[in-house]
C-alpha cells in the first residue's frame, strides 16, 4: 500500500515537472536542457526557509518566486541566442547551479545535503502521512494542469505555438517573440519550482546529487514519450516512466546489481530519448489537428 501511495506521489510530482517543461519545449519550442535547475531552486529555497522556521506557506511562495526570477535571469541572455545555443546555455546553467548547491557550503551544507526538512503545514494542517501528501500533490497537480491549460488554450498559448512554428513570421506580424519566450520560460520555471518544493518536503532530505543532468533527461523523456505539445502527454509520460523507475527500485534485487542498475537505467533512458526523437517524435499522444 505504501509503495502504491509513494508511486502516485512521485508520478504527480513529475507530472508537474513535466508539464512545466512541456510549456517551454512542447508549446514554445524551447529545448531547455537545464530545467532541473529550477526544480532545484524551488527545492533548496523552500527547504532552507522552512529549516529556518519560516512558515511553509511563505516558503512555498518565495520558492516559486525565486524559481521564476531565476528563469527570468537565465532567459534574458540565453534567449538572445538562436535555437540550439539556447539548449547549450540552459545545459550550462543546470550544471552551474548544481555546482553552487555543492560549493556554497555556508548556505546549502554542500555535498552533505540538507536533512530533516519539515513536512508542509498549511492552515495548521500538517501533510505528514502518505495519504495526506498524496492529496496535496494531487491537488497541486490538478491546479497546475488547469492553469497551464488556460494558458495553452488562450491567445497567449496560440502565440507561443506560433513561435515554436516560426518566430520569424511572428516577428513579421508584429509580435515581440523574445518577450513571449521569456514569459514561457518564467512560467515554466515557476511550475518546475513547484515540483521541486513538493519533492523536497516529501523526501525531507536533499543534496546536490539530486539535481543532475540525468534528472533533466528523465523529464525530457517523460515529455517526449508522453507527447510534447499535448495537454495530457506529460501526465501519461510521467505515469509510465515513474512507474517503471520506482518499481525497479522496490524490486528485491541483489544489492550487487545496484552498481549496474543505475547506470544501465540511464543508458536505457538516454537511448530511448534518442530513439523517440528520431522514430516517434510525437510520443504516445499526438498533437491535435487534422494533420497528415
Amino acid at each position: 500500500m505504501d509503495l502504491f501511495l509513494h508511486l502516485w506521489i512521485m508520478i504527480f510530482i513529475y507530472s508537474i515537472f513535466a508539464m512545466s517543461l512541456n510549456l517551454e519545449m512542447g508549446y514554445t519550442g524551447l529545448f531547455n536542457f537545464g530545467h532541473i535547475a529550477f526544480f532545484g531552486i524551488g527545492a533548496y529555497t523552500s527547504a532552507l526557509l522552512t529549516l529556518h522556521q519560516i512558515p511553509f506557506a511563505l516558503a512555498f511562495v518565495v520558492a516559486l518566486v525565486a524559481s521564476g526570477f531565476f528563469g527570468f535571469l537565465l532567459s534574458i541572455p540565453s534567449l538572445r541566442l538562436r535555437g540550439d545555443y539556447f539548449g547549450i546555455a540552459t545545459l550550462g546553467f543546470g550544471e552551474i547551479l548544481r555546482m553552487v548547491f555543492q560549493n556554497e557550503v555556508w548556505l546549502t551544507k554542500g555535498p552533505m545535503g540538507l536533512p530533516g526538512i519539515p513536512k508542509p503545514i498549511l492552515f495548521s494542517y500538517r501533510f505528514a502521512t502518505l495519504p495526506q501528501y498524496l492529496l496535496l500533490t494531487m491537488g497541486l497537480t490538478i491546479v497546475t494542469f488547469l492553469i497551464l491549460r488556460i494558458i495553452i488554450r488562450s491567445p497567449l498559448g496560440r502565440t507561443l505555438r506560433g513561435i515554436r512554428e516560426d518566430e520569424i513570421v511572428l516577428m513579421a506580424l508584429g509580435k515581440n517573440a523574445f518577450h513571449f519566450k521569456i514569459k514561457s520560460v518564467v512560467i515554466g520555471s515557476v511550475f518546475a519550482g513547484l515540483a521541486g518544493v513538493l519533492w523536497t518536503h516529501y523526501t525531507t532530505f536533499i543534496s546536490p546529487g539530486d539535481f543532475t543532468l540525468s534528472e533533466t533527461i528523465l523529464v525530457l523523456l517523460i515529455v517526449v514519450l508522453g507527447g510534447k505539445g499535448t495537454e495530457w502527454g506529460p501526465l501519461m509520460g510521467a505515469f509510465v516512466l515513474i512507474f517503471f523507475q520506482e518499481s525497479l527500485r522496490f524490486l528485491k534485487l541483489p544489492t550487487e546489481w545496484g552498481r549496474y542498475l543505475a547506470p544501465l537505467q540511464q543508458m536505457i533512458f538516454g537511448g530511448l530519448l534518442i530513439f523517440l526523437m528520431i522514430y516517434r517524435p510525437e510520443g504516445l499522444i499526438r498533437e491535435k489537428g487534422e494533420g497528415r
Binding site: 488556460i150 494558458i151 488562450s154 491567445p155 497567449l156 496560440r158 502565440t159 505555438r161 506560433g162 512554428e165 516560426d166 520569424i168 513570421v169 511572428l170 516577428m171 513579421a172 506580424l173 508584429g174 509580435k175 515581440n176 517573440a177 513571449f180 514569459k183 512560467i187 498533437e287 489537428g289 487534422e290 494533420g291 497528415r292
Partner: protein
Amino acid sequence: MIETKGLSKSFGGIQALSNCTLSLKGHAITGLIGPNGSGKTTLFNLITGFLPPDSGEIYFKGKRIDGRLPHEVASAGIVRTFQLTRVLPKMTVLDNMLIACPRQTGETLSSLFFHSNTIRVEENQNRKRALELIEWVGLSHLKDQWAGNLSYGQQKLLELARALMANPTMILLDEPTAGINPIMIQTMMELILKMKEWGMIFFIIEHNMDVIIELCEWIFVLDNGEKIAEGKPKEIQQNPRVIEAYLGV
C-alpha cells in the same frame, strides 16, 4: 509612405544593395523589379528591420524606422510576406489567421485570469473577421486543416489574408505569384486589387511582367543593388537600361 536614403548593404564581398534612394509617394501599388540577386529581397529585409543597413536611412510616414526591430516595424504598420511562403505548418489555417491579430488582450498572462470576458468577446470578433477573410481568399473548406497541408498556392493566399489580418497600413509582398498556377495568379491579382480598393497600400516584388503591368502604378528597377530606373509601367517597359539589365546585354 516609405522613403530610403542612400541605403547600402553588403554580405561579405557581395554588395547586395548600394546607395539606394527611393521614395514611395502616393501610389497604392508600387512595384520592385530586377534580375535575380539584384537586391530586392534585401531591400525588403532592411525596410522591415530583419537586417540592419550598413548605411543609409529609412523613413515611414516621415518617421525614421531603420534600427527598429522587426516587430516594431510591423506594429508601426508595415507587414511583409516572404518569397518562399512561411505559414505556421502545424497550426490550423484559422489559427494562422487569429495569431496575426495585433495587441490581443489574451496575450498577457494576467488578463487570462482577470479579463476572461474581454478575451472572449475579442476572440469572437477576431474569429468572425478571420473566417470572413478565409472565405474571401477561398480557403473556407480548409480552415481546420494544418496550414502545412495546403498547396503552395493556397499557402500564398493564406499569407496574403494573414497579412491583412494584422491590420497594417502597408503590405510588402515578396513575389506573390512565384511558383503558383495561372488560375491562382489571377485570383491573387484580383485579391490584391480588391485590397487596394479597400485602401491598402502595397510594395510588390514581382517577376511576372504581366502582373506588374496590370497592378502597379509606379515601378522601381534594381540591378546589382542599384536603382537603375523608376517610372510608370509603360515607361519602364521601354527604358533601354531596363531592357539591357533583363536581357543581360
